[in-house]
């Protein structure tokens, strides 16, 4: 791999120069809508909640292909490690009802090779009818080499699965979790799961060497047609994303702009979104996608649902906590 300055390093230099010049201004943009919807449990009410939430966002998928990307990590169905299958099934039904030409489910776990066994253990076969017909193992899907439109990491190219690249809408459906390296893992970090392990290995270690936060920003740029639905019904705090403990929050957070959705989730978790490296990289000039005035909040107020997530020991001392 060639060594050169990353986008992040250039941004750091540019940012320092800007600070020295004393210029710091926000950039006006059309506000993106982020909804926070109460969802107290994984039960039948999810279906109606999901349908209404997507209708409120006016997601137009008529005649279009949709790929739902949950977060599947480990064989622990009783833990809060994986996106709950009933949520994915509710989204599948809602997008079908909204006229999508096809709705598929795709995931490429980073630790375990036996993806379908993992999905089985996580309850997907039991909850999602015809799951095997709907599911694509993104680790083993055919790939296309792309160069992200905006490049932040040292990776000069990325091989990505055709199922995800070809989708008219990629729906990131992560769990609301803390992360021992990045602070929080939400809609944007969830896109690590589209990187094919068949090419990069288990785990997708070349991305770690190229910079986790930078690669997350690369992936965000590689998929311009996204929607995000974060499973915050029961999240994970402490030593996430694997060895943490369940954290009931009772919300779903959704929107078209993954940066705005993730920033909102951070605020709910009482984490400062400006301290999350990949959010800073992807949030545009002067962090415009994260600014309060550029996010049109619907549903619940952040203050009404916010609850502090215990941070992993690895990042607890770096000032992530939002006052």
């Amino acid at each position: 791999m060639e060594t050169k300055f990353t986008r992040r390093e250039w941004l750091g230099v540019a940012g320092s120069a800007a600070m020295l010049a004393g210029c710091s201004k926000s950039v006006p943009m059309v506000p993106s809508t982020v909804s926070i919807v109460r969802a107290p449990a994984y039960d039948q009410r999810i279906y109606e909640t999901m349908r209404r939430m997507l209708a409120d966002h006016r997601v137009d998928v008529r005649g279009r292909t949709v790929v739902l990307k949950p977060n599947l990590v480990e064989f622990e169905p009783q833990s809060s490690i994986n996106t709950h299958p009933i949520l994915v099934h509710a989204a599948w039904e809602a997008f079908q009802a909204m006229g999508a030409s096809s709705v598929r489910i795709g995931e490429g776990p980073g630790h375990r090779r036996n993806t379908l066994d993992l999905a089985d253990a996580a309850g997907y076969f039991k909850i999602v009818p015809r799951f095997e017909d709907l599911f694509v193992d993104l680790n083993l899907d055919d790939v296309t080499r792309i160069r992200p439109s905006r490049q932040f990491s040292r990776l000069e190219k990325l091989y990505l699965p055709n199922t995800a690249l070809g989708a008219d809408l990629l729906v990131s459906m992560p769990k609301m979790k803390t992360h021992h390296w990045t602070g929080a893992t939400l809609a944007m970090k969830n896109l690590f799961g589209v990187v094919p392990s068949g090419v990069y290995g288990w785990p997708k270690n070349p991305l770690h060497w190229a910079g986790i936060e930078e690669c997350i920003a690369d992936l965000h740029a590689a998929f311009p047609r996204q929607f995000a639905i974060v499973d915050g019904i029961v999240g994970m705090e402490g030593d996430g994303p694997i060895q943490g403990v369940p954290k009931p929050v009772g919300v779903l957070v959704a929107g078209h702009d993954p940066v705005a959705v993730d920033a909102t989730c951070c605020r709910i978790m009482q984490i400062d979104p400006y301290k999350i490296g990949y959010l800073r990289l992807a949030s545009g000039e002067a962090n415009s996608h994260m600014l309060d005035q550029n996010i049109r909040q619907t549903g619940e107020n952040i203050a009404d649902v916010a609850t502090p997530f215990v941070l992993p020991g690895t990042v607890a001392g770096v000032g992530l906590r939002r006052s």
Binding site: E93, I127, E132, Y200
Partner: protein
């Protein structure tokens, strides 16, 4: 042993791509033995058989979306089909697995399928696969995961498991040379120099070089185990001090990374300050790579593997557990994978055949 070797062979034969290679596939049952070689056993047939078998599943279309909804918390009682309650078990005698959409050929499934079919005497299909593999070789003597990907990776170790007389001695020698020249990045001179300049001491688990999934990244248990298997096989055929040295270093790499409770995770014994838990598949792989090695760490890993064996319902994990235990003479003679075990990919089907052969005393992995 697997309940149906002939079904697994049929699975491999019926999923070979026209170019001679094999895709990974997401496999599913597609019919009876009679239907298995029928040209009509298409994905349409698959869909019908699935629908017939699943009876009352329903359409789940937009008009009646709630009809068959499962209730959360009672997943085991739902009417929805599962790999456990469907009318057809995924792996029963004579049932062939067919993918619903044809994927492109990949190196790993092609190498395993060729190895398994050579062992089964299906030389025609195997040799077509070997031709595909020869055509996929890169100028550096390694193999990409798929033709069109411009980097040689860990799959070179799987290619190197193929018999040189079938693959071609010169081609095979280049695969071995590529493996010998490949290290995890943490063992590279520039990385170590940088760490030294930064004042970082060398962690105990980085004393010995292993193999990465992709050059330029760190070494991991999976690719290190596969590389050792390939080099061990080569060493038996053509002993060399260089090969022996890498095998020994690779084994030390593995022994330095056992989990606290025994067995192996995919990487380190600790991650981000916490103990890593062992995985069945990597525990089996590492045990296979530690053939002939004894000691307390191996004993503890064997105990962990034996515990996994009884509870495991993953074909991939069971393949490696069986092989790992078999390598150390600790697989119960009567052990047979559960009859309803689902083989999800072609490498799983191929490995099951190879491990079956191993249980019958044939040593495809060690020459």
């Amino acid at each position: 042993m697997s309940p149906d070797s002939s079904g697994l062979i049929d699975t491999l034969l019926s999923n070979q791509n026209p170019d001679g290679g094999w895709p990974y596939c997401s496999l599913r049952a597609s019919g009876s033995p009679n239907a298995s070689r029928s040209p009509n056993a298409s994905s349409g047939t698959t869909a019908k058989l699935l629908a017939d078998a699943r009876g009352s599943v329903g359409s789940h279309d937009c008009e009646e979306p709630r009809k068959n909804r499962p209730q959360a918390g009672e997943a085991g009682e739902t009417a929805c089909p599962t790999s456990e309650n469907a009318d057809f078990p995924p792996a029963v005698k004579g049932v062939v697995f067919r993918q619903s959409t044809q994927g492109r050929s990949w190196t790993e499934p092609t190498a395993y399928a060729a190895l398994a079919l050579l062992a089964a005497g299906e030389t025609g299909a195997a040799r077509k696969g070997l031709e595909w593999i020869r055509s996929a070789e890169r100028p550096d003597g390694g193999w990409p995961p798929q033709i069109g990907i411009d980097e040689s990776t860990w799959v070179t170790a799987v290619v190197a498991l193929l018999p040189p007389e079938e693959l071609g001695p010169a081609v095979h020698a280049r695969a071995i040379a590529w493996l010998l020249a490949t290290y995890g990045k943490e063992s590279s001179f520039d990385y170590r120099l940088r760490q030294w300049l930064l004042g970082n001491s060398r962690p105990a688990d980085q004393q010995f070089p292993g193999w990465p999934w992709v050059p330029g990244a760190a070494a991991w248990v999976g690719p290190t185990s596969l590389a050792i298997l390939a080099l061990e096989k080569e060493s038996r055929r053509k002993p060399s001090p260089e090969i022996q040295k890498r095998i020994e270093c690779g084994r030390r790499f593995l022994l330095a990374r056992t989990c606290g409770e025994g067995g192996w995770n995919h990487g380190s014994s600790r991650a981000a300050g916490y103990e890593s838990r062992p995985y069945p598949e990597t525990t089996g792989m590492a045990l296979a790579a530690l053939r002939g090695v004894a000691g307390p760490k191996v004993d503890r890993a064997l105990a962990v593997a034996r515990g996994f064996l009884d509870a495991c319902r993953s074909a991939d994990a069971l393949n490696w557990l069986r092989l790992g235990l078999l390598t150390h003479g600790r697989l119960p003679e009567s052990f047979c994978p559960p009859p309803r075990l689902a083989y999800r990919t072609l490498p799983e089907a191929s490995l099951a055949l190879l491990v079956d052969g191993g249980q019958r005393g044939r040593e495809f992995f060690w020459g």
